[in-house]
Point group: C2
Chain length 301, copies 2
Amino acid sequence: MTGSNHVRIVEVGARDGLQNEKTLLPTSTKIELIDRLSATGLTTIEATSFVSPKWVPQLADATDVFHGIRKLPGVSYPVLVPNLTGYERARDVGATEVAVFTAASEAFNRANINATIDESIERFLPVLERAKADGVKVRGYVSTVLGCPYQGEVPVADVVRVARRLHELGCYEISLGDTIGIGTPAKARAMLHAVAVDVPMHALAVHFHDTYGQALANILSCLEEGVRVVDSAVSGTGGCPYAKGATGNVASEDVVYMLSGMGMHTGVDLDALVATGAWLAAQLGKETASRVTRARTTSSS
Amino acid sequence: MTGSNHVRIVEVGARDGLQNEKTLLPTSTKIELIDRLSATGLTTIEATSFVSPKWVPQLADATDVFHGIRKLPGVSYPVLVPNLTGYERARDVGATEVAVFTAASEAFNRANINATIDESIERFLPVLERAKADGVKVRGYVSTVLGCPYQGEVPVADVVRVARRLHELGCYEISLGDTIGIGTPAKARAMLHAVAVDVPMHALAVHFHDTYGQALANILSCLEEGVRVVDSAVSGTGGCPYAKGATGNVASEDVVYMLSGMGMHTGVDLDALVATGAWLAAQLGKETASRVTRARTTSSS
């Protein structure tokens, strides 16, 4: 594998993960989760989402969570914002990094927010403008990059177009998400390769769900293509609204384990991450989806 | 990815998988399992093991199982034999392919069969001789190729030496097994690369357990290195006696899904495999370990 041996993990468990968990956690538990994650050496920890509580009851306490967490120097705590109202709430509590989201699939945008891709991007233009003026970093999520629950195939050209647009608009990093976890390594790599023609590789991240068990293999193939930022969620939290019973985000523990075994540096303390994942699974009352955590926490039982 | 786009799956669920499952299945269920697997297009289906019933109660009915299955033309049904007694029992029921096993770790052999690696190989020399005389194909398993529960690190040189010896002794194929599922892609690939210097790649197979979630990523890296035979178990049956609660063999469904998405040909009907995996999980009274099967069988619920 050529290229840098440093990989930045973007921990999305407290937002993308919890958002899709049915068990509602108390605010104090979410704060403890993020504080524990901060102590593992992670440098980017998505903290919460300032969407309408109507949409995502789990994250209705965004303000309290963001207020409550200990913010370590050198660690960024981005929050998701769907619009200017969300952005303003985020700014009110002192967020210095936000994330916006759209999809590469026209059908997905239509079904979810009743807009075309272009309209969905237009909707957060005010956020991008204000963020620029405020000196707030903006991360952009592009979902359904390898398939869509509504339209099936998603043309790579659409992924490229959306990613390029977000980059042009000022997103410092574009996270390419296989929302339904349907992609396989060669397709993931080809998609990344195509996007990297128009957007510098250092501004790209990959975001895989493990619905079909392909996440680590997909990450491996994207690392081989040159990406060095990987989204993952401690304990593999989350699910897939399009495949009930399916697993969610790839588990951070399993990603860090793989990277470490490959001589790649993440700066994350795997033992601390495993302990946090096991603790979180207990809070959620479910078995952890991390194989590493399962193997480590049961080997002596 | 260069090289042939045909991959042969060696289905080990009925032996390596069931061997490590606590729920004892009736003989008729095992026969139905193998008959269902035969109908998926698989060409190598490990059927059972002629070990002492004392060691593996699950496979005490080896003779009845092997008698009972419908043997399709073009499909091989290897059986595991630990010694000449097992070989003779296998031959009595008409087995035309057998498998022998040893480990690359001295400590593992010592703990499991109280022998050195060389002694363990000597013990099945009579099997290899008789098999040669009988025109019976012999597959060799080398376990603990990427780590050992007793000695930890296993030198690659030991893996190479054992694999070369098995090949010299007449094994037509050597399956390199990460018994405790601890390996990561770069190490797996380096190990395979080293073995392939001494044993032709076409005579090598890889055998990964998903204990740490690394199996598909490891398979991907070994495919990139040139291997074209992959062991897997429908529904990801089995477990790991060294990490209780951990997952077992990599699920055949997930392997076939990945390969298919990469344009690699296995000849296996994924739908039939998923149906068989879901059925087997129900027989075992446990959730399937295949992510693909989970995603497919729950998406409409």
